[in-house]
C-alpha cells in the first residue's frame, strides 16, 4: 500500500484516495480551431512514462480536495505534493 501525503491532512493510506491521472492537462483554449487529430489527442492521449509521472489525486475519504504529486511509476515513490 502506498502512503500518499495529502497537503491538508498529511500522510494517509492509498485506499483513502481516488486517482485522477496525468496532471496539467488543460482544456484547449479554443476547441473549435483544433484539428480532429489534436482534439483526439486531447481527449484520449495521456503521458504514460516508466518513471516519474506528474499526476492528480483526490483525498476522497478525507478532505475531498484535489492535489498533484510526482510519483515514480516503477518504485511508487511519491514526491511532495504541490
Amino acid at each position: 500500500m502506498m502512503i500518499i501525503t495529502c497537503p491538508w491532512c498529511g500522510p494517509r493510506n492509498e485506499t483513502e484516495f481516488h486517482y485522477g491521472g496525468e496532471a496539467g492537462v488543460a482544456y484547449p483554449a479554443d476547441p473549435g480551431v483544433l484539428s480532429d487529430e489534436e482534439w483526439g489527442r486531447f481527449l484520449f492521449v495521456r503521458s504514460n512514462p516508466k518513471g516519474v509521472l506528474h499526476e492528480r489525486w483526490s483525498h476522497n475519504a478525507g478532505c475531498r480536495r484535489w492535489f498533484s504529486v510526482h510519483r515514480d511509476t516503477v518504485t511508487h515513490e511519491v514526491g511532495p505534493a504541490r
Binding site: E14, Y19, D36, R41, K50, T73, H76
Partner: protein
C-alpha cells in the same frame, strides 16, 4: 489432479542476432510468438526475429488467468475473438504441442437488473454474430457450477448469467512454448535478453532497432510489447492512447476438483477457474494508478477474495499460495490497437489490456497478415490507431461482460 505433460529441456533453438531481418518483432510474449509463427506458416516469411528483453513469455503471457471466450458485444470484437477461438480449437494439433486447451465453458454472472438486460442483449448479439451463447437463470447457473452461491440473500445475488460453452482455459506457458517451437522450426530466430532501446530511422522511415545486443536492421519493425508499448512508442515520438496498470492474480493450494467451469463476475469483480493441477486461479481488478512495477496493492487482492468467498463459500477453506502482477496496456475504449502507425516501417499491436491472452492465435494470424501485406487484415481493420482521431471507437468498456 490431472496429468500435466513433462517438458523437454529445450523447446526452441536459441539464436544469435543477425545484422538484419525482413521482420523484427519486439516482444516475446504470446502475441509476438504467434505473429512470428503465422508470418512463416501463412506467408512464407521466415526471415524473422522475435526480440525479448527478458525471458520468453516472462511478461503477461505467463501471468494471466488464461480465460478464453469470444462472447463480446460488438461485431468487431466478436469477429477477432471468435476467429481466435476457432484457431484455439485446433491449435494443439496445429502446433504438435500440448496446450491443455479445455472448453469447460464460461459463465458471466449478472447481479443487477441492468446486468441482466445487458447480458440478455449480449447473448442475442452473440447469436447473430455466430458465437455460441445462452442465457441461464440462477438454478441453471447452479447446475453448470454447483459451488456458486445462488442464494437471494447475497449482498449481490446472482440473478442469472450468460454462458458460452465453447469458452474455457489453456495452459499459457505451454502455448508460448508451442508457438516458439513451431516458429523456430520454420526458421524464425527467437532472441531472449535482447532489449530494444531505440530505433534507427532514415527519411522518417524506421529501418531497424538498437538493442542491448547491438543494432539490428529490419524492413518492418512490429511492436508487440503489451504494457511497455508506450515506452517504445515514446522512443519514436509516436503518441499512443495507452495507460499502463498493474493487474494481479493469485492461485490457491492444490485442491481436488471442485470447480468445473470458469466463472466471471463484473459487479463483484472476481473471475476464477481451477487449473489442471488443481489450484484455483483467480484474477483481480487493476490498480487504479499507472504502474510499471509488476506487483499490485494488497488491498486489491483482499477485496477480490472477500467477493470470491461470498460467491463461493467453499473457498473459505482454501489458502492463497502465490500472488503476482503483470503490466497491462489499457486503451480508452478497452479495445486493442493494431496496424499501421503513420510511420513507415513501424507496426503496432497493443491495447489488449486485461484480455489479450484469449486472442493469441487470432491476433498472431491477423497481425502477420497486416505485416505481410502492409494493410490491415479485415478482422483487425476496425482496431486502427486512427480511430482515436475519427471517433470510430469500439467501445467494449461498458459493453462487454468483464474486461478479461
Amino acid at each position: 489432479m490431472s496429468w500435466v505433460p513433462e517438458q523437454p529441456d529445450r523447446v526452441w533453438r536459441s539464436a544469435e542476432p543477425k545484422r538484419r531481418y525482413q521482420v523484427v518483432i519486439v516482444g516475446g510474449g504470446g502475441h509476438g510468438l504467434a505473429t512470428a509463427y503465422y508470418l512463416a506458416r501463412n506467408h512464407g516469411i521466415t526471415d524473422v526475429a522475435v526480440l525479448e528483453r527478458g525471458w520468453l513469455a516472462g511478461g503477461n503471457m505467463a501471468r494471466n488467468t488464461t480465460i478464453i471466450r469470444s462472447n463480446y458485444l460488438w461485431e468487431a470484437s466478436a469477429g477477432i475473438y471468435e476467429h481466435a477461438l476457432k484457431l484455439w480449437e485446433s491449435l494443439e494439433a496445429e502446433l504438435g504441442y500440448p496446450i491443455l486447451f479445455s472448453q469447460r465453458g464460461v459463465l458471466n454472472l449478472a447481479h443487477s437488473p441492468q446486468e441482466v438486460r445487458d447480458g440478455m442483449r449480449r447473448v442475442q448479439a452473440n447469436l447473430l454474430a455466430g458465437v455460441d451463447a445462452q442465457w441461464l437463470d440462477p438454478m441453471e447457473v447452479a447446475e453448470v457450477c454447483p459451488i456458486v452461491n445462488v442464494s437471494p440473500q447475497l449482498r449481490y445475488p446472482v440473478l442469472g448469467a450468460t454462458y458460452q460453452p465453447r469458452g474455457g482455459i489453456a495452459k499459457h506457458d505451454y502455448v508460448a512454448w508451442g508457438f516458439a517451437r513451431a516458429a523456430s522450426d520454420l526458421g524464425v530466430d527467437i532472441i531472449e535478453h535482447c532489449e530494444v532501446t531505440g530505433f534507427d530511422r532514415r527519411d522518417g522511415r524506421v529501418i531497424g532497432v538498437r538493442t542491448t545486443r547491438g543494432e539490428i536492421g529490419a524492413q518492418t519493425v512490429a511492436l508487440s510489447a503489451a504494457g511497455h508499448t508506450s515506452v517504445l512508442a515514446d522512443m519514436v515520438g509516436l503518441r499512443v492512447p495507452l495507460q499502463s496498470h498493474a493487474l494481479q492474480a493469485l492461485v490457491s493450494d492444490l485442491l481436488l476438483p471442485v470447480h468445473p467451469t470458469v466463472v466471471m463476475s463484473n459487479a463483484v469483480h472476481v473471475y476464477v477457474s481451477q487449473a489442471h493441477k488443481g489450484e484455483l486461479v483467480m484474477g483481480a481488478g487493476i490498480d487504479a494508478h499507472n504502474s510499471y512495477s509488476q506487483r499490485g496493492a494488497v488491498h486489491v487482492i483482499e477485496r477480490q477474495l472477500a467477493a470470491a468467498v461470498e460467491l463461493f463459500p467453499v473457498f473459505a477453506r482454501a489458502h492463497v499460495l502465490r500472488t503476482w502482477g503483470g503490466i497491462v496496456d489499457v486503451s480508452p475504449d478497452a479495445s486493442p490497437i493494431v496496424g499501421l502507425t503513420g510511420i513507415e516501417g513501424l507496426m503496432i499491436n497493443c491495447g489488449w489490456g486485461t484480455g489479450g491472452f484469449k486472442a493469441t492465435p487470432g491476433i498472431g494470424w491477423c497481425y502477420a497478415h497486416t505485416i505481410a501485406h502492409g494493410q490491415p487484415h479485415p478482422l483487425n481493420a476496425p482496431f486502427t490507431l486512427d480511430r482515436f482521431t475519427t471517433g470510430a471507437l469500439v467501445d467494449e468498456h461498458g459493453a462487454a461482460a468483464v474486461a478479461h
